[in-house]
Each structure stands twice: as C-alpha cells, then as structure tokens.
C-alpha cells in the first residue's frame, strides 16, 4: 500500500479536489494508488455498504467487520473494476459475497433451524396460508421502514439473503442462484416463503401496535 503514490506527494499545482469529483473520477485516481481518493469513496458509500452488511447479518459487530473487509477487498481489486456497473453496485456485490461466505461458515458450525429445514423440504410452505394481502396499507413511511426492518430480522439468514438480493440489489432469479449456489427453483421457493413470512410478520406487528 505504501508503495502507491498518494496525493500528499504531488505538487501543489496537481492537488486534486476530491469532494466535488464524481465516483468514476475518484475510482480512476484510486486505481493509480491515490488513497485519498479511495478515502473519499469510503466516506460517500460507507453507510450503504454497512447497511447491506447489517441487513444480511443482523449483527452490528459482524456488519462493521465485513463492511471494512469489503473496502479492503475493493482496494485490492480496484484494477478489476471496469465501470460496467456503478462503483456502489460493485461494492455492494463485494460486501454481499463476504456476507454469504460468513453465513456459509456459520452454517457449518451451527445446525439450521427446524423451521428452515422444514421449509427446504416444502413442509412449512404447505402449512402457511397462500393469501397475501397488502400489510402496508395506511402506514407512515418511517413506521413502515421500521416494521420492514423488524420483520426482516425475524427471517432466517437463507431467506433474508434471497430477499435482499432480489428486492434491494435487483438481481434476477438466475443471478441469485449462481451467487448462492442453489437452484432457481430453490430461489423461487425461498423468495416466496420469505415474502409470505414478511407479510405475516408485518400484519402481526400492525395488530400488536394497534391493540
């Protein structure tokens, strides 16, 4: 890292103005080894990357650790970034992959919940009501956001991961299947289960707060 040039060693006439510069400009400078440009990128996107890790892991300590790891990985792989997607999207993919790796490691050390094992076998799906009514009607934006967060925290890692990748990262079924290493059918099944569970949790939360 120290071998790379930083703007501190540049002549004053070449001093870069980081704050107003666009992401792609900062990425270009960072690719040349400019750590101050990289720091600016971290500053801009740190909350989004941390939020994604937090959504996936539901643990502040792990989310902090994985989000920082994602920044280190991106610095190391910055030369691979070709600008096919936005820098934020590229970063989000890195942190999601790290979270998936972490979840896989954790699954090895602890047995999955009975609920998930049943769901994978199709048991819970058959027991749940098919009906999904709109559980978000008449809610304030802030309250709805808070309830969605609370409901998502009650999903299993496997269901939450699929839901996040689909709803917030906009990935297609096949992309999710490839990245997690499961079949498209399992993605569809997990997504459907996650949505029904989420709808059910949102309804329960609404009932709890109105009573």
């Amino acid at each position: 890292m120290n071998k790379r040039p930083s703007s501190a060693s540049m002549p004053t006439s070449l001093k870069r103005d980081y704050v107003p510069s666009a992401d792609d400009v900062l990425v270009g400078w960072a690719q040349q080894g400019d750590t101050e440009a990289f720091e600016q990128l971290v500053f801009r996107h740190r909350d989004k990357i941390y939020a994604r890790a937090m959504l996936m892991m539901r643990n502040e300590e792990e989310a902090l650790d994985l989000s920082q790891e994602a920044w280190v990985k991106s610095w190391q792989r910055l030369h691979q970034f070709q600008g096919d997607s936005s820098f934020a999207t590229w970063m989000t993919r890195i942190v999601i992959n790290l979270c998936l790796d972490q979840i896989r490691r954790q699954k090895k050390t602890r047995s999955e919940s009975i609920e998930q094992l049943e769901e994978d076998a199709g048991g819970v799906e058959r027991q749940m009501p098919v009906e999904i009514i709109n559980p978000t009607e008449g809610l304030e934006k802030t309250e709805l956001r808070s309830r969605i967060d609370e409901a998502m925290s009650k999903l299993t890692d496997a269901h939450r991961a699929v839901l996040i990748m689909h709803e917030f990262d906009g990935l297609q079924y096949k992309e999710i299947a490839d990245r997690i290493g499961i079949s498209i059918g399992t993605v569809m099944s997990r997504l459907f289960y996650a949505r029904r569970r989420l709808a059910s949790l949102l309804q329960s939360l609404r009932r709890e707060r109105t009573e």
Partner: protein, 153 residues
C-alpha cells in the same frame, strides 16, 4: 392453490416469465380471484419493501472507520506476496534450486569414479600425522598450499 401455481404467479410479478407463460398467468388472474389476490398482494409487498429499504449508519466516526480500514489495508499489503524484486528472485530460485539439487546428485553418483583423480591430485599432498584421524579416514595436508583434506572411506 398448488405451490407450483403460486411460484408461477410470483415469477410473473417479478417479470421472470416469457411471453407465453406470462399470458397463461394473466388469464389465470383474470378468471381466478384467489390467483388475482395473490398477484396483487405480492406486487404490493414487493413495491413497499423496495421503497422502504431499512437504513443503517456506521456507528463510528468517519476518521475512526477509515483508520481501521487503512490498518487492514496495510496489513493485507504486508501479507501479500513479495512484489517485483521478490518475483525476480523467486524466478531465479525456481531454476537454481533444482539445478543445485541435480548437481549434488551427479556429484554423489560420480564420486567413486573420481577416486583415482582425487588420489592423483592428492598425491602432491602428504598425510599428516599431527591429527589423529579415525582408522577409516586419511588426512592430507599441504603446507605450501595451506590446505587440509580429510578423506573419509
């Protein structure tokens, strides 16, 4: 409703179906109230979730967060394989080590055949009585050359 039908309706809502399957689901939703309710419920939930992504903020100051990343970057850099200069040395070692090994093997294999040659060279030297060598070895010493050879049989 069968699970397969539910998943097909979900795929329709997510825009994952081709034209013919899409038309089939649209017909189903138009004729079956249960299918229509599921489709509308999934669509409403989907847009509500997408529009209300939970937000979190890094629970540390910018400076502290960045300092931790910097420390990790430095550690990762230090742990990385040696760069340019190291690579050249590694390339050399890749050739030198096997060559040195091969040379050692050849030397060992040809040692008996060199015995005569060694004797001829050593003929200019004289056994030295100053050192009590084991019975199975001979010591040659050349005072003029300042060399001592310990020959072990």
């Amino acid at each position: 409703m069968k699970t397969e039908t539910c998943l097909e309706i979900q795929a329709y809502v997510d825009g994952e179906l081709d034209a013919s399957r899409r038309a089939t689901v649209e017909h189903l939703c138009a004729t079956d109230p249960e299918a229509r309710q599921l489709s509308e419920g999934l669509a409403a939930l989907r847009s509500a979730v997408r529009a209300h992504e939970p937000e979190f903020q890094v629970p540390e100051t910018r400076e502290f967060y960045w300092s931790q990343i910097q420390r990790r970057m430095s550690a990762a850099s230090a742990a990385a394989p040696v760069t340019v200069a190291g690579s050249a040395w590694t390339q050399w070692m890749r050739w030198l080590v096997p060559l040195a090994g091969a040379a050692a093997v050849v030397s060992l294999l040809t040692l008996p055949s060199r015995e005569g040659q060694a004797t001829a060279t050593l003929a200019s030297m004289s056994p030295t009585p100053a050192y009590a060598a084991p019975a199975s070895s001979i010591i040659y010493r050349s005072d003029t050359d300042g060399v001592t050879v310990h020959w072990i049989n």
